[in-house]
Every structure is written in C-alpha cells, then in structure tokens.
C-alpha cells in the first residue's frame, strides 16, 4: 500500500470571510508518525475536523485512507481513532461505560488491548466521568483510540493535561501503534515529543503550509550553535578566519557565538581548537529552533 493515509491538496476552509485554512497540502505516508505543528489558531484543528468529515472543505481535494470524508465520513472514521484536544464526555456515565459506548458505536473492539491500556494508564473506570480531571478524561479518549482496531490515529494535542509519566506511556503507545503498521497524525505543541516520535513533520501558520518533510532533512537546513572564547588578542584573527569560511559571527565581549551549517561544523571546530579557545560548546539544532525561526520569519 503506497497510497498516502492522509492526502490533502489545496485545502481551503473558510468561515464567512475568515480563511482558517488557506491552500494547505498535507501528505502522510502509511505506517509513519507524522507531526503536525503550528501556533495557536494556525488551522491544525480545523484541518483535522475536515479530515474527519466534521467540517466540509470550501475547496481542495481531501482523501483519508483513500476515501473522501465529505461523502464517506462514516466509512473513513470507522477506521480512524480520534483524540480531541479537549475531551468532553457524558458526565453521568462511568469511564467504563464510555469505553463501552465508543466501542459499541464503532462496532469493532479489542477488549484485551483496552483492558491492558486501562491498567497501564492507571485509570479508575468505575468512577463517573463527571468526577474526572481533564487528564483522566484525556486518558479515556486515549485508551479508546489506541485500543480500537483502526488504521489511522488522529491525535489533536493529545497530551495536554497528562503528567510526565503518562506522557512517557503515551509515547510508548504511539511507537507500538507505528510498529503495528498504523499511521499516526500527531498535532502537537510539545516539540520534544514530536522530535522523539515523528519521522516527518508539517508546519503550518495562518492556515498555510510553512514547511513539510523528513525531520532529518529539516535539521540539516538548520544550523548548529557553537560558542567559544578565543584567547585574548586572537579574537579578531579568529573572526576573520571564520568569516572567510562563510560563517556568521556574533561577538559578545570575548565570547563568540556562531550559527554554523552542519557541514561546516568540523572546520569551525578545527579553527577554534587551533587557537586553543576556552569553553567550546556545540549544540545541534533542535526542532525548536526550526519552529521559532519559521514563526519569527512569518511574523515579520
């Protein structure tokens, strides 16, 4: 199966005059974990709601598991697990009854997986949902999503409200899902989480695509940050040598701060160690830098 699990081309979703999504492309290969990043109001949730057939696209071509959600929402979502950012449930039912209801409506269930997840997430399913905290409601939705025998998981900021231990567990569940051949679309604000889990990411802002592709390739574009303190009197000479390599140099007193494209890192470190600089640090680029850079650019 080489057809993308999610395939969006030129999606436009307008609410009145406001375009929440404006010409977005998104493609998620089957069996991958795809990060979906963007600041608040970027149009992530709107896109997801179009994918699920809850919103009707104003324009563009949308295919989920090969189906058009505008006409075949039920067929598509039967094979999708969805966890919304803010989980609201029927407050008079118990956690167990909610799991029963969601599984029954889907018509497919993996009771053993569900029981295992209930234990792993340490959720007291005998309590009424009305007494649950936000995190516990989130757990109910996550358990239902991971336990359901589905091909695609659509997770919309699913870890807001979970404690760090549960986040760890969540990451394990995502990896297991991917290992089992399921596709995961993970919308998130937590960059560390996306870095740990996703092979490919799509970054959007103001409803438009900013960047999309393999994470490894994107980091390549971003630069490592190197700082060092050359011995007194050599700073100018070092700066000139580094500039001749094509590196931007920022000077903060005796301290140099460099943003270095990855292929140049060995050469730059060579120059710095030649003159026996002190306090050399080299930090590889993080997704966060990429993220901030895009937002800063777009904000201009």
């Amino acid at each position: 199966m080489t057809e993308p699990a999610v395939d969006i081309e030129g999606l436009v979703k307008r609410f009145g005059a406001f375009a929440a999504v404006d010409g977005l492309d998104l493609s998620v290969a089957p069996g991958t974990v795809h990060g979906f990043l963007g600041p608040n109001g970027a149009g992530k949730s709107t896109t997801i709601r179009v994918l699920l057939g809850l919103y009707r696209a104003t324009a563009g071509r949308v295919r989920v598991l090969g189906l058009d959600p505008a006409t075949h929402a039920a067929e598509a979502t039967r094979r999708i697990s969805y966890v919304p950012g803010e989980v609201r449930l029927w407050s008079t039912l118990t956690g167990q009854e909610v799991l029963d209801a969601l599984a029954a409506l889907r018509g497919r269930r993996n009771a053993a997986a569900e029981q295992r997840l209930v234990n792993d997430f340490a959720l007291d399913t005998r309590r009424r949902v009305g007494t649950y905290s936000k995190g516990n409601r989130q757990k109910v939705a996550l358990i239902a999503a991971f336990a359901a025998p589905t091909d695609l998981l659509v997770l919309d900021e699913p870890t807001s409200g979970l404690d760090p231990l549960m986040e760890e567990l969540f990451q394990r569940c995502v990896r297991e899902a991917a290992a089992a051949g399921r596709t995961v679309l993970l919308s998130s604000h937590i960059l560390a989480e996306v870095e740990k889990l996703c092979e490919t990411v799509t970054i959007i802002k103001d409803g438009r695509l900013v960047e999309s592709g393999r994470l490894a390739d994107m980091r390549y574009l971003a630069a490592s940050t190197i700082t060092a303190r050359p011995p007194g009197g050599q700073a100018d000479a070092v700066t000139d040598r580094l500039r001749s390599l094509g590196v931007e140099v920022e000077r903060d007193g005796a301290r140099l701060r460099l943003s270095v494209p990855r292929p140049l890192v060995p050469a730059v470190l060579g120059v710095l160690s030649d003159v026996e600089s002190d306090d050399i640090t080299c930090t590889p680029a993080k997704l966060e830098d990429l993220f901030l850079r895009h937002y800063a650019v777009a904000a201009r």
Partner: protein
C-alpha cells in the same frame, strides 16, 4: 457590583424573556376580568360557588369577599403567575450559582482575585434586584388598568406586584440554600422544583382544609396573607422578607462550609456497570433514562391529581355557573369530557416542554464536542440527531401512556360522567402528536443551525398561549386552531376526528427529516 453586572450581561436574554412573559401575562389578562360576567347577580353566584369549590380552592386558593374582578384576577391569574415566578426563581438561581461552578466559569473568576464569598453575594444581589423589578413591573402592569377594571387600585396593584416579587425572592433564597446542599447544579434544580411542589401542596392543603397558618406559611400562599385588592396588608410582607433574608444568610453560611464545586451532600462516584448497546439510539436511550423516570413519575402523578380535582368544576359547569379562566377552558359540551380535555392539554404542554428539552440535548452534545467523538467512531452524520428525536418521541409516548393509564384507573372514581376512563386515557395519549410536532420544530432548527435552537420554545409557547388563554383573550377560532394543542380526537364521542392529529404527526416527521437532512449539509458546530 461589577460581578452582578457580568451576571446580568451573561443571562440577559433569559432574564428579559422571563420578565417580559410574567409582566406581559399580568398586563394582557387584567382587562379580560372586567367583561367576564355580564350581571352582578351572575357574578355573585359564581363567586359563592368558587368560594366553596374544593377544586378551584386547591388550584388557586380561597377567593376573598366580595369577589370583585380585581380579586378574581389576583386569585386566578395571581396563582398562575406566582407559580411561574417560583419556577423562574428555581431556574435562574441555579444558573447564577451552582451552574456557573459546574461549567468552570466561576473558577476563572475566583482565580482573578474575586473573594470566595462574592459570587454568591453578587448572585443574591441580582436575584433581589430581579424581585424588585418583578414587583414593580407586575404592579405597574396591573395598576395601569385602574379605572378600566372594577376595584383595581394602584395600592392593590402594587400589593399584588409585591406578592409576586416576594414569592420570587423567597423561592430564590430557598433555592440558593438548596444549591449549597445539592451535589450538582442539576440536583439543585430538581430539589428546587420539589420544594416548589411542596409549597404548592402546603398552600393547597391549608386552603382546602381552611388551616390559614399553613397556607400563609407557604411561599406560594403570600396572596392569602397580603390580600391584594382586599386588605392590601403591607405589613404581612415583612415576615416573608425576613425569612428570605434569613435564608440568604443561611446560604452564605453553608457556602463557607462546603468545597468549591461540591455540595454538602456528596454522591457515590464509583459503580461497577457496563453498557450494552449497538446504536446511537441505544446510547440516546441510556442517556435519557433518568429523565424518563423523573418525567413519567412527575407527569403521571401531577396529571392524575389534576384530573381528579375536576369533579367540582364539572358539577359547576353542568349547572352553568362556571366562569373566568375555567369556563374559557371548558366551553360548552359535555363538562366532564371538557374538563379532561383541559387537564390533558396542560399535561400535553408539559410533555412538549420535555420534548423541546430532550431534542435540545443533542445540540448541547454537539457544542460540547461529544458529537465529534461519536461521529469519529464511524457513526453516520445524521444519526445522532435522528436518534435523539426518536428517543424523544418514544419517551413522550411512554410518559403519556403511563399518565393516561393511571388517569383511566383513578379519574372515574372522582368524576362522574360518560366514558371517563376511556377519555382520560385517550386524551392523554392524544397529546402525543403535539409532542412529535414540537420535537420536529426543534430538530429542524438544530438541523439548520444549533444557534437557532432556542427558537424551538416559540411554537410551544405560542400554542400553549392559544390553548390556555385563547378564549379568554378572544382570539378567533381559526387562529386558535393553528396551535398544536386541543386537537385530540374524542374517541368516546359520536364522530372522532383524526385529521388534525395525523397532520401534526406528519408535520413532526417532515420537520424532523428536514432537520436531519440539514445537519448533513452543514459543519458540526463547536462551542
């Protein structure tokens, strides 16, 4: 003060609608009491009968001498407006106190440096303010009829307005106390309604058995204590005011002794139970289970009580001495059948209110985001609303059949006449088409846009107004026939007509289908 203003801003539509309805009801009905009786002798006869009639005494209280049009108004319409004011008090008090805690908005305010005691104080200030507006508004509405309706005076009108305002204040303060005790806002509302029911029973019992202190001690019996248009006993409002203040203080004390978001009574949070269902209809039925029970018991009990109270009215109507509101309800024809038709129309109105509330529940799920989760399991887009409408229709039928069956068993014992049991059953069940039509209106509105959903109360309100006050207000019959009520076929009569009920059912089905189709053509709404 700013918190009170925020509350007004947040609830202004509801507040406005209630005030407009109650004040409008007073203003609209006062003039009709002037022309109800043609001769003085006729009026005297009616007054004497009404004074000795257990049924009307139970419903409205005791009619004071000499039974002027103003006194008739305060006695009859006053009873209806008093009950409405009490219902308004329960609903509003809960929505400005516990409901704001349950939905989390109060938490936000408390986090903004609002002192723990201020939210309750602001709510009480708002309710007190409303009581004053209600008193002045109703008083002015009636007072404007001075000179047009016999015995209506400004002093009496203001005393009348004061009883309405005080009733509202008392029930509000009582509900504020209950809101500190109950585990949730919904429970507080239920307790409030039970309290209003108990107040009605206390007043009715006191009036029928002529135990005045009992009647006066009920929040719904203030008219007997203050006696607007009779004695205008202003000082009698002082005890009620004191009790209201004491209750408000009690609410304050209790609020300091409970946790935020929880009442003094806690409820068992855990239970071992599983859910066995296959379809959204099953889910809607399970979620509506508790309301099915409450509505069935409530409607069947109150409806049957109401039917059995009719014996005196029926006798009076037979001798041609009935007047005012009840006469406008019974009209001519077989009095027993007419009374049953009237009491079952009231039941119909109540069941239609259930139908609106029940269909509106699907709108709340949608706005809350629960519908998202349901649809994401592969459920078809149109199914949640269809399931809700189906369950609403089924529960309405169950409530009406239960009410009809209980009525058929008990009413023949109380009322003499032909085919009482058959009529008691058929007239109750005959309200079902109205419920289906009402549910259809709500479904259509939600289908088009959840934002329009509150308009679903309009057809019900208009139909109820036409059915209850149409004759009194001299609305032409052609217009009255447009209402959803009073169309049940007289199965025991010579020529039962099923046309109108079939039209209503057809209308309900067509509107529901249109609404269900409309949902598939729009985006799911989010809050």
């Amino acid at each position: 003060m700013s918190l009170t203003r925020l509350l007004v801003r947040r609830h202004r539509m509801t507040l406005g609608a209630w005030l407009l309805m109650l004040i409008g009801l007073c203003a609209g009905t006062v003039p009709s009491y002037q022309n109800t009786y043609d001769t003085e002798q006729q009026r005297r006869g009616v007054v004497e009968l009404a004074q000795n009639n257990p049924a009307t005494t139970l419903l409205y209280g005791r009619l004071p001498d000499p039974g002027t049009p103003a006194q008739m108004f305060a006695w009859e319409l006053g009873a209806i407006v008093t009950i409405l004011a009490a219902v308004m008090a329960v609903l509003l008090t809960v929505s400005v106190t516990r409901a704001a805690e349950d939905d989390g908005t109060l938490e936000l305010l408390r986090g903004c440096g609002v002192a723990p005691r201020r939210p309750l104080r602001s709510a009480l200030a708002l309710l007190a303010g409303l009581a004053v507006v209600l008193a002045l508004g109703c008083g002015a509405a009636v007072g404007l009829a001075t000179g047009h309706v016999d015995a209506v005076t400004w002093a009496g009108a203001m005393a009348f307005g004061t009883t309405i305002g005080l009733t509202f204040l008392l029930v509000s303060a009582l509900t504020a106390v209950l809101a500190q005790i109950a585990a949730t806002g919904g429970q507080a509302r239920a307790l409030g309604f039970v309290a209003v029911g108990a107040a009605f029973a206390l007043r009715a019992f006191g009036d029928v058995k002529r135990v005045d202190p009992l009647a006066w001690s009920s929040p719904l019996g203030l008219r007997a204590a203050i006696e607007p248009f009779t004695a205008d006993r202003w000082w009698a409002s002082a005890p009620a005011l004191l009790v209201a203040v004491a209750l408000a203080v009690l609410a304050e004390v209790l609020s300091g002794r409970r946790e935020f978001g929880a009442g003094l009574v806690t409820r068992r949070a855990a239970r071992d139970s599983r859910l066995r269902l296959r379809t959204p209809v099953g889910l809607a039925a399970r979620l509506g289970r508790s309301s099915l029970l409450a509505w069935t018991v409530g409607v069947a009990a109150i409806g049957t009580l109401f039917s059995t109270m009719g014996s005196a009215a029926v006798k009076q109507s037979r001798s041609g001495d009935l007047g005012g509101f009840l006469e406008s309800q019974l009209g001519t024809g077989d009095p027993a059948a007419a009374y049953l038709a009237y009491s079952d129309t009231v039941i119909g109105i109540v069941v239609c209110a259930y139908a609106v509330l029940s269909v509106l529940a699907s709108r709340r799920s949608e706005v809350d985001g629960v519908t998202d989760l349901v649809l994401a399991t592969g459920v078809r887009r149109w199914l949640p609303l269809a399931a809700q409408v189906l369950v609403t229709a089924a529960v309405s039928a169950a409530v009406l059949v239960a009410t009809g069956a209980l009525g058929a068993l008990i009413t023949p014992v109380a009322i003499e006449g032909d085919d009482i049991a058959a009529r008691a059953f058929a007239y109750a069940v005959g309200q079902w088409p109205a419920a289906v039509a009402t549910a259809g209106c709500a479904a259509l509105l939600i289908g088009i846009s959840p934002r329009l959903a509150p308009l679903a109360w309009l057809p019900l309100g208009a139909s109820a107004l036409l059915a209850l006050l149409g004759n009194l207000l001299d609305v032409p019959q052609r217009v009255q026939d447009l209402g959803f009520f009073r169309h049940m076929p007289d199965v025991a009569g010579p020529d039962p007509r099923f046309g109108a009920p079939l039209v209503l059912i057809g209308l309900g089905v067509a509107l529901s289908l249109a609404g269900i189709v409309a949902t598939t053509r729009r985006d799911i709404a989010t809050g």
